[in-house]
C-alpha cells in the first residue's frame, strides 16, 4: 500500500478497486477497461466534498477573485469555514471550486513546483500565465488517464513581463484560458449575466469588490450550496493580498413574507 501511495501520491489502492500487484502499465493504458483477469478499474467517478462558485475579474491595476467559505458533502452544507485560496510564488493566487481534497493535493503540488523553482537559485521568477500552463498540463495529463482532478480553478496574478493583471481559468479537462472576468460553478449561470451587464475594464478595486459581492449575494439567495461568508484575494503589482472572511448582509424581512396570510387583505398574496 505504501508503494502505491508513493506511486500516485494520493489515496490508498482500496478506493481504486485494483490490485497493486497487477501490471501498472496495463492499468494506465486501459483506463476503465478490464485487463488480464483483474478487477475492472474504477476511479472516483464523482466528487464528494465540493465547493461551489469562484468569481474573478480584472480591474484597473489588478485582479480580484472571490469565493465563499463553504464545502458541501453532497447536498449537505457541512463545512462552513474553509479557505479556498492558495498563493503560489510572490504574485499568483489560485482559488478552487469542485473537489476540495483535489484542491488540497494541488496546493501541495504547486508548492512543490515553487520549491523546484526556488532550488534553481537563478533569480528567475515565474509568471501567472506560466503557472496556469503548468496547472493546465497537470489537469490534462490526469484527465487523459480518465482520473481527473475534479476542480475548476480561477487564477489571479500580476504579469511582470507585460505589467498588467492576469486572470485565468483551468478546469478538470485541462482547459486553460485567460479572460477579463470568469466564474465557475453556479456562478457561471447566475453571476456571468450580471458581470456582462456591469463589468468595465477601468473599474477601481472597490467597484470590482462591490460587483463581486453583488454576485455572491445573488448566489447566496439562489444556490443552495452557497454561503454568505466570503473571502477574496487581490493581485496587483505589489503582490497578493488575501482578505479576512466577511459576511454579506442579506435581506429576509420583506413585509409580505413576514405577515401571516390571515392578516393580509383578501386580495393580497404572499408573492
Amino acid at each position: 500500500m505504501e508503494d502505491c501511495l508513493r506511486l500516485r501520491g494520493r489515496r490508498a489502492p482500496d478506493n481504486y478497486g485494483y490490485s497493486y500487484h497487477g501490471d501498472y502499465n496495463q492499468h494506465v493504458l486501459c483506463g476503465s477497461a478490464v485487463s488480464s483477469g483483474q478487477e475492472p478499474i474504477k476511479h472516483t467517478t464523482r466528487p464528494i466534498t465540493t465547493s461551489s462558485t469562484v468569481i474573478g475579474l480584472k480591474f484597473n491595476g489588478g485582479t480580484i477573485v472571490m469565493s465563499d467559505t463553504g464545502v458541501c458533502y453532497g447536498n449537505m452544507l457541512r463545512f462552513k469555514s474553509c479557505e479556498r485560496f492558495c498563493q503560489v510564488g510572490d504574485r499568483t493566487v489560485v482559488a478552487a471550486s469542485g473537489e476540495y481534497s483535489d484542491f488540497q493535493y494541488l496546493t501541495r503540488d504547486l508548492k512543490e513546483m515553487d520549491t523546484r523553482d526556488w532550488v534553481q537559485e537563478d533569480g528567475c521568477s515565474r509568471e501567472p500565465s506560466s503557472i496556469a500552463a503548468y496547472l493546465g498540463r497537470t489537469f490534462y495529463g490526469q484527465r487523459s488517464r480518465l482520473d481527473p482532478y475534479w476542480n475548476q480553478m480561477i487564477m489571479a496574478g500580476w504579469q511582470k513581463t507585460s505589467n498588467e493583471p492576469y486572470l485565468g481559468y483551468i478546469d478538470l479537462y485541462g482547459t486553460t484560458f485567460p479572460e477579463d472576468y470568469i466564474a465557475s460553478g453556479f456562478g457561471s449561470y447566475l453571476a456571468i449575466p450580471l458581470l456582462r451587464k456591469e463589468y468595465r475594464p477601468d473599474m477601481t478595486e472597490d467597484e470590482a469588490k462591490a460587483l463581486l459581492q453583488k454576485c455572491f449575494m445573488a448566489l447566496f439567495y439562489r444556490d443552495c450550496t452557497g454561503l454568505s461568508t466570503v473571502q477574496y484575494a487581490v493581485a496587483t503589482s505589489a503582490g497578493i493580498r488575501l482578505s479576512d472572511v466577511s459576511t454579506l448582509t442579506h435581506k429576509w424581512d420583506y413585509k409580505l413574507w413576514l405577515t401571516p396570510t390571515s392578516q393580509l387583505p383578501v386580495s393580497a398574496s404572499s408573492w
Partner: protein
C-alpha cells in the same frame, strides 16, 4: 603512469585527475574553433568549418551552429556525432519546458540540465564522456542576452566573450584586448571575424570555411539567423583592408 588510470572514466588517478575527461577536452582543442561574443544588442557565434574540400555536398545543414529553440542557438566544437546527440537532447528539453510552463526556458536552466547530463558520464556507467564543447547564445526575459560555454566534464561558465577549439589560447587574449562593454552587434561580428581569421591561420575568410550566426531581439521578439555568404565576404573584405592599412603604416614608418 597515467596509462594505468585512464581506461575507465569513473576512476580518479593518484594525482586526482579524471584522464578520460581530460582526453575529451584535448580532442576538442583540435576541432574547428568557435568564437562567441556578447554585444549590448545581441550575441554572435562564429565557427570554423573543418571539412573544406570541394567534394563535400553541404546541403542545408551546417556543421557548427544549431538552433535549440527560438531563443537559444549553440555552436559546437568536437565530435559532430556526440554534438548531435546532445543538441537533440537540448531541443527536447526546451520543448518540454515550453509545453509544461507555456513560456521559453531560461537559458541558464537549459545549459544546466545539459551539463548535469554530461556530468553523469564522468561519474556513472563507465561510458566515455561526450567529446564536444558547446557555446550557447541565448536571450530570456530574466537576464537578457547571455553567452555560456560548457565542456565534456559538465562544467559551464557565462562569458562576455570567449573561444573554444583550435587555437583558442591565442584567441582569448585577442578578445580580452578588444572586447568593450558597450559593443554593438556589428562591432562584435567584426571582432569575431578578426579573431577567427587568426585562429584558422588562413589568409582570408570565405563562406565555405566558416559559419556566423547572430541572435537579436526585434520588437520584443527573439530571433536568430546565419549570416549570408555576401555578409561574410563583406567582413572578409573589411579585414583585408584593415590588414593592408597596418602593413602600409609599418612600411612608411
Amino acid at each position: 603512469m597515467a596509462r594505468r588510470y585512464d581506461q575507465r572514466t569513473t576512476t580518479f588517478s593518484p594525482e586526482g585527475r579524471l584522464h578520460q575527461v581530460e582526453y575529451a577536452i584535448e580532442a576538442i582543442s583540435h576541432a574547428g574553433s568557435v568564437i562567441g561574443i556578447q554585444a549590448k544588442d545581441g550575441v554572435v557565434l562564429a565557427g570554423e568549418k573543418k571539412e573544406t574540400t570541394k567534394l563535400v555536398d553541404p546541403g542545408k545543414r551546417g556543421e557548427k551552429v544549431y538552433k535549440i529553440d527560438d531563443h537559444v542557438i549553440v555552436a559546437v566544437a568536437g565530435l559532430t556525432s556526440d554534438a548531435n546527440a546532445l543538441v537533440n537532447r537540448a531541443r527536447i528539453n526546451a520543448q518540454h519546458y515550453f509545453s509544461r510552463y507555456g513560456e521559453n526556458e531560461p537559458v541558464e536552466q537549459l545549459v544546466v540540465s545539459l551539463c548535469d547530463y554530461k556530468q553523469q558520464y564522468t561519474q556513472f556507467g563507465g561510458l566515455r564522456p561526450f567529446g564536444v564543447s558547446f557555446m550557447f547564445a541565448g536571450w530570456d526575459r530574466h537576464f537578457g542576452f547571455q553567452l555560456y560555454q560548457s565542456d565534456p566534464a559538465g562544467n559551464y561558465t557565462g562569458w562576455k566573450a570567449t573561444a573554444i577549439g583550435n587555437n583558442y589560447s591565442s584567441a582569448v587574449p585577442m578578445l580580452k584586448q578588444d572586447w568593450k562593454e558597450d559593443m554593438a552587434l556589428d562591432e562584435a561580428v567584426h571582432l569575431a571575424a578578426k579573431v577567427l581569421l587568426k585562429t584558422t591561420e588562413s589568409s582570408s575568410l570565405t563562406s565555405d570555411k566558416c559559419e556566423f550566426a547572430v541572435l537579436t531581439v526585434k520588437d520584443g521578439k527573439v530571433s536568430h539567423r546565419m549570416l549570408t555568404n555576401d555578409e561574410i565576404l563583406a567582413e572578409s573584405k573589411k579585414l583585408e583592408q584593415e590588414q593592408q592599412q597596418t602593413t602600409t603604416t609599418t612600411t612608411t614608418s
